[in-house]
Symmetry: C2
Subunit: 345 residues, 2 copies
DNA sequence: GCTCATTACCCAATCGTTTGGGTAGTGAGG
DNA sequence: CCTCACTACCCAAACGATTGGGTAATGAGC
């Protein structure tokens, strides 16, 4: 009878064992300091706590939620966890949620609207206290619905005007890359811009273009190629950029490391040596970037912290605070793939 | 009053609205066919279902679990979701769990015993119906405890004798690589073997070594280097292998793509051109392998299916079935990093 | 010795379901 | 006309915790 694990012993059991009423035990174990003090004599309280620890009492969260209408559950929706960026953010969420005694569901929506809806309904039917949305689309349809239904939520990674979010300062990140490539002498550049519905790609692209133009450069619309965020998407996009041998750029900015890796593959198959014939810069500085055969320049974004911040924001919302979006600072990491001084013009 | 989302309307509400008793409504909506038929006249049943759909009734899972002692929750523990391999497996889990109307918690243990324990306790205190363990260590200590506590669980990715698991046939996978490298003329090979506590690395290494020896080759113990599973681990291991210029192998088998990528980086910094001066083969065939500047040969393992199978096994266990471990078949994918015929000897 | 506050508790309702066990009402069979 | 089996429901007790509201017993104050 040595506690075969949580779930075996209840509040009532403890109370019976101690000759107390369950409510008294409850107040002692779970009440705030004041309640607890009012509930029992210090010596009784200690007896209760001792026994609880000895038998390994752990309250039934289902019963608690039923009564309190709070599950201490958070829902997280991401496009795909196999996207390293989201996976790392989720690690941050996992950590922060644990610290705050919350547990999290995480589901993949594959950026598909109907799956997004489906997963959301599952989460809500599970009665999560709030949602962290990592797959927001710029049209924001679903978010408006959520807001109308008064579901507490925050965005992560991708920002949408009007909603609280935890992101990287993507515009700044893009600008950093533009500055770097400009300084290296590149005047003819292309951008692999990601999916048009994702603020990450859009903002990084916008930040890049603005800065590059501010420096006096030109970027025709045709130099911006939308793509999927994975290696294959990057490969395809780079192919379409490099196919045109008349007007090949000397540098490519991919808004995502994986797309950048795909672009490296494409460059290779076009006989171009990355870092010498063609500069490539990625974004996120995932753990692979520095380890690639040709080390990839990339903008470091604090992915882990973004996850942590998302949790903090959401807990703020649940607490009724007015929360503000937070943009974390990116840092450019220059490596072999773009570290080469080009003759200007 | 148009249902502001799940959670607003209860069985009792429905019953009152229809002039029925909650129990009747419950039987109609949630009972098995027979119960439902015995519970009400067909026309009544239809009225109930219509109203339920109209107001968007969704049962409170907390209340249900409290009564039934089943949460329809599964716990998943992995070393780290930022390991693409585990992330993809989790996508399979997510899918299969959804199909079966289960939801999953997933937590990262970083392969740290105390975190493993901690996360497990959280899961159990949440009253999950069962666990999928993706971070089992060969010593199996924690698993024995779990078994003793009669917690339903299955292993995933890593196998441990005596427990049901869903894995790749790692021994075979290793053998495939050995055969391939041998056929390519390599006689002097090294292995980046991963963490010694993980069956994946151990079995892949063992499969490789056995086959290579069976073919007549020799592999000294010193040619087997244990390492972390990430790029950095692979880099470090490869460095230690390549440092010894007297006895440099012509090929390296890394039991994991990320380690292989790290090894490529190391080879590079030693001035070796992968695929020409040194063959490298990875494992898992993650989506990156084919896209790298030098495409990486790798053993394809059905990660997504492994996740799905893990869920199927666990549901079997929950159902009281006697389940057997399942090993899915690996397939070797040869690419540039090892596609070169060497002169023998 | 009486009032009054304080201490240290107990009581019972409640959260939303499920489920074993009724029970009126109907129709058939004998 | 009585019995018996259905049909179509209802009743109430759980599941485990929380929480607003008691209430005896003790001690202090006057």
């Amino acid at each position: 009878m040595t506690g075969i694990g949580p779930g075996s012993v209840t509040l009532k059991d403890l109370a019976a064992e101690l000759g107390l009423h369950p409510s008294t035990v409850s107040r002692i174990l779970h009440g705030k300091a004041e309640t607890a003090r009012g509930a029992a004599a210090p010596v009784t309280a200690q007896r209760v706590r001792d026994l609880a620890k000895k038998v390994g009492y752990s309250p039934d969260p289902q019963a608690t939620s039923l009564r309190t209408r709070r599950t201490h559950l958070l829902g997280v929706i991401v496009p795909r966890l196999s996207d390293l960026v989201l996976a790392v953010m989720y690690e941050g969420i996992d950590e922060a949620a644990d610290d705050a005694n919350y547990s999290t569901f995480v589901m993949n929506s594959r950026d598909d609207t109907s799956i997004q809806r489906h997963k959301m309904e599952i989460m809500l039917s599970r009665r999560v206290d709030g949602l962290i949305i990592g797959d927001a689309h710029l049209d924001g349809n679903i978010l408006d619905e959520l807001a109308e239904r008064k579901v507490p939520f925050v965005l992560m990674n991708r920002a949408i005007a009007g909603f609280a979010s935890a992101t990287c300062d993507d515009t700044l990140g893009g600008a950093l890359v533009a500055q770097h490539l400009w300084d290296q002498g590149h005047r003819d550049v292309s951008i692999i811009a990601g999916e048009p519905y994702a603020s990450t790609g859009v903002d990084r692209t916008h930040g890049f273009v603005s800065r590059f133009r501010a420096l006096g450069g030109t970027i025709p619309e045709s130099a911006i190629v939308w793509s999927r965020f994975d290696t294959l998407g990057g490969h395809t996009a780079a192919n379409s950029i490099l196919r045109d041998t008349d007007r090949r750029p000397s540098a490519i900015f991919a808004v995502n490391d994986f797309a950048a890796i795909g672009a490296m593959g494409a460059a290779n198959s076009h006989g171009l040596h990355v870092g010498r014939d063609l500069a490539i810069v990625g974004f996120n500085d995932t753990s692979l970037a520095a380890q690639l055969p040709i080390a990839l320049s990339s903008v470091h974004s604090p992915m882990h912290d973004i996850g942590r911040v998302a949790v903090k924001l959401l807990l703020g919302v649940l607490n009724g605070d007015a929360v503000e979006s937070i943009k974390l600072l990116p840092v450019l990491c220059v490596r072999d793939s773009s570290d080469f001084t080009w003759a200007a013009g």
